[in-house]
């Protein structure tokens, strides 16, 4: 019953209309990509929106919260800020707070981080032998916060079938239904 009524729309389309549907699907995908790349330019961060994946910053951030990052070179890193950084050997960037910072005369900085919910600093998380983070490790500084919105992404990453299902449904819906 349902399936027949879904395909009715396709049956009523001619070739030209079907192509139009495919194109509009392409538009959705490419505009999403454009927004992402545009945000990268505006914020200066290589990933301007991140989802919190661990509980190490609780109770400030929980799993699934969304953070908006900026990474302007002229804005100095300071103690107490929440930074997102990458560590060699770890795929996933870490969101933690700056605990200690030393800045040289020529502007080079080295700093140490700690998660609010962790009892020790992050030296154990860094690469072997690494004592400090530098500016190059920083992906961005947390500037904005939105709760729970990233939960969908976490679901998608943890249940690949769910992800495939959602994407398939969306693609199917866009291709099949007329506007």
């Amino acid at each position: 019953m349902e399936v027949v009524s879904l395909f009715d729309d396709v049956k009523r389309m001619n070739k030209r209309q079907f192509l139009y549907q495919v194109l509009s699907f392409g538009m959705i995908v490419s505009s999403a990509l454009m927004i992402w790349k545009g945000l990268m330019v505006v914020t200066g961060s290589e990933s301007p929106i991140v989802v919190v994946l661990s509980g190490s910053m609780e109770p400030a951030f929980h799993r699934g919260d969304l953070l908006f990052l900026t990474n302007y070179p002229e804005e100095p890193v300071r103690v107490g800020e929440i930074v997102v950084f990458k560590v060699a050997g770890r795929d996933i960037p870490i969101v933690h707070r700056v605990l200690k910072l030393h800045e040289k005369e020529n502007g080079t900085i080295k700093f140490l981080t700690k998660g609010d919910n962790n009892s020790v600093d992050d030296r154990g998380l860094y690469a072997a032998g690494q004592l400090w983070l530098t500016k190059d490790d920083v992906v961005g500084r947390a500037r904005g916060f939105l709760p729970y919105v990233g939960m969908v992404t976490i679901m998608m990453n943890e249940y690949p079938n769910f992800k495939i299902g959602v994407l398939a449904c969306l693609a199917f819906y866009v291709l099949i239904h007329r506007e």
Binding site: V79, L99, D121, G144, F145
Partner: protein, 179 residues
């Protein structure tokens, strides 16, 4: 609106968009608020040692010990868009090695307005006051400042400096006895 599922879907979508509007209203209503306030900080006891820092370079670095008094009332900072205050005490100073050093000595997470009146007498620091070298000995100007990072329900993550700070100096000699 012709079937059960479509009505449920439309209802859910409308509720979520209303929720987004409400969240935005909450964000807008608090975005221009001034979160600065006065604080009294003073140091009670100051001791300086020079011992190997096994957590970092293993070289002999300056390690300061201090106890401090802290008085402030942050109750009025709480509103319907403040989930948490992350309050931290920073020591900021200059050494021949580094133009700027910032070390967080103490922090506290405040979740409820009832706990936001701080009155501490002679308390120890939470983190070690390690210098990056031997810059604490005889250092004439160490400034203690209190700051807080506001974690909202949704919105910006500002770091606010309190009005009022305390400066002190370290002795010119190391303490060799056990403390």
């Amino acid at each position: 609106m012709h079937s059960f599922l479509q009505r449920g879907n439309a209802l859910l979508a409308y509720t979520l968009s209303v929720l987004a509007c409400l969240t935005f209203a909450c964000f807008i209503s608090t975005v221009f608020l001034n979160y600065r306030t006065d604080v009294d900080i003073s140091t009670v006891r100051i001791v300086l040692k020079n011992i190997p820092d096994y957590s970092a370079s293993r070289e002999e670095n300056d390690l300061g010990f201090l106890t401090f008094d802290l008085q402030t009332d942050l109750k009025h900072l709480f509103n319907w868009n403040v989930k948490q205050l992350f309050v931290y005490l920073t020591a900021e100073y200059e050494t021949p090695n580094n133009k700027l050093n910032q070390v967080v000595l103490w922090d506290k997470i405040i979740l409820r307005e009832e706990n936001a009146k701080l009155d501490f007498k002679n308390i120890n620091t939470k983190y070690y006051f390690w210098d990056d070298g031997n810059g604490l000995k005889g250092n004439k100007n160490i400034t203690l400042t209190l700051s807080w990072n506001i974690i909202p329900n949704a919105g910006f993550l500002p770091n606010i400096f309190a009005q009022g700070s305390h400066s002190f100096k370290f002795p010119a000699e190391y303490t060799t006895s056990r403390i």
